[in-house]
Homo-oligomer: 279 residues x 2
């Protein structure tokens, strides 16, 4: 049975009892609308912790766009059934007033890795992420936390955060889970029309082609330009960014002289998709 | 014996061993140059914890003024002797590079209670306090932390911080310790000349008089104006602020209809003194 807990006081009591027995607590922070990507994180947590908490909280502070927040899919009953099947111990699903009670006034800002890409396109987004993640680590007292590489930049921000604030939670990044046609799993995918869903894999496919071209010696800028053209030709609207960045520190990369990551955000209809791959 | 620890890795090991034995850890964060005010905090921690850590770190991030940082008194050998005498278990005295290693990029901002008074006079000061305190709580994993009421606003900021970020450290405020003539103990007092030291008590004395006048029915604004005149007549230069504020939320108070605090900052020569009392 997965126990549903809604208050941090109740959660703290539960966790304190586990900790008295010397148990290692793993947490998977999510915004719900769970898919196989999330479940792979729950399985990783299951394998590397004694007790597993999955959190579901659609965090208003990390949405820079009110309509994106409104449209974000929510189905807790379905999510709970999925977590039961994975043997998750606790679903922590607090309300907005529990996380941000009256008088709440604190913000955590991570500079550097949070600034380009998503940070540039979504002002305030990573402040919201860093703040809520700090809170969730405080509430869950987790020894390990599991995040998907799908949100690569977020993973780097969270790693920086726990190092900088000396938070005793180890961050574990887990591989992106994809549909058979290569589309990265995302809660936002359900908002694609059937026609858009058919077009969506072009993003990942063209990123792969660009990565192969770079590895074969095509200049980075040339490969990126060709991929951008192909993605829009394949049905996408604006490509917000398609960039090669260093793995260490997300600095702009103009060649493959150090480990790099190709990251993209693009609009398909009114849905914004992101993806990233190693190069 | 008080053990001196300089790295957070070594401290974490020490604390983990204590915690495995079920011990409650108390921490007293300081910037060194210890006086009886600090020692009263160490004694409170001794009485309410199984193990006591005193931290000494002159935090560059909370100094908005480079010359104040340079002039801040430092005497670790003397501080250590005082802590030995109080039975403190660990003196944690990390260097600047240990607290802010290369790549450090995170800032914790507490809004609201941090904004008036010290926050208005010392831009960025409370961001530095909130950030380093978050880090020290992470490093020490303390169950209780002891702060002096001398820095009343700081105490409110830290209380807001731990509530907002769900940090598992309970904040305990301890009364201001004063010299016999009423001057609040402060590490900065050693920078007063003998003549200034003789004038310094007028700040607290006039605050007391103003508080008594308010309690006797003198309008707040009238009492504050008389006190400001008397403080400058007594040898002080600029009175940066002398304000009545609500205990709850540090809102401006124009009468005594709810619990209030009188807070002041004023310059004596080139030393900035602060004080506060209940009204």
């Amino acid at each position: 049975m997965t126990e549903v807990i809604r208050t941090s006081a109740e959660l703290r009591e539960k966790v304190a009892a586990w900790k008295r027995s010397g148990m290692l607590v793993g947490v998977v922070p999510t915004m719900g609308a769970l898919h196989d990507g999330h479940l792979s994180l729950a399985r990783a947590a299951r394998g590397q912790s004694d007790r597993v908490i999955v959190t579901i909280f659609v965090n208003p502070m990390q949405f820079n766009n009110a309509s994106d927040l409104d449209k974000y899919p929510r189905d807790e009953a379905h999510d709970l059934a999925l977590l039961e099947a994975e043997g998750v111990d606790v679903l922590f699903a607090p309300g907005v007033d529990e996380v941000y009670p009256e008088g709440f006034a604190t913000k955590v800002t991570v500079g550097g890795v949070s600034e380009p890409l998503e940070g540039a396109m979504r002002p305030g987004h990573f402040d919201g992420v860093a703040t809520v993640v700090s809170k969730l680590f405080g509430m869950t007292q987790a020894g390990r936390a599991f995040f998907g590489e799908k949100d690569w930049q977020q993973l780097q921000v969270v790693k920086r955060l726990v190092e900088d604030l000396n938070i005793a939670t180890r961050i574990i990044g887990c591989p992106t889970i994809r549909e058979e046609d290569g589309l990265a799993m995302s809660s936002r995918n359900v908002r694609l029309s059937p026609a858009e869903r058919a077009q969506a894999p072009v993003l990942h496919a063209e990123m792969q082609k660009a990565a192969e071209a770079m590895r074969a010696g095509t200049p980075v800028a040339v490969a990126l330009e060709a991929a951008t053209r192909a993605i829009t030709a394949g049905g996408f609207g604006a490509v917000e960014y398609l960039e090669l960045r260093t793995v260490d520190g997300l600095r702009p990369a103009t060649d493959l002289s150090e480990p790099a990551r190709l990251l993209a955000a693009a609009w398909l209809g009114d849905v914004r998709l992101i993806d990233n791959i190693a190069v």
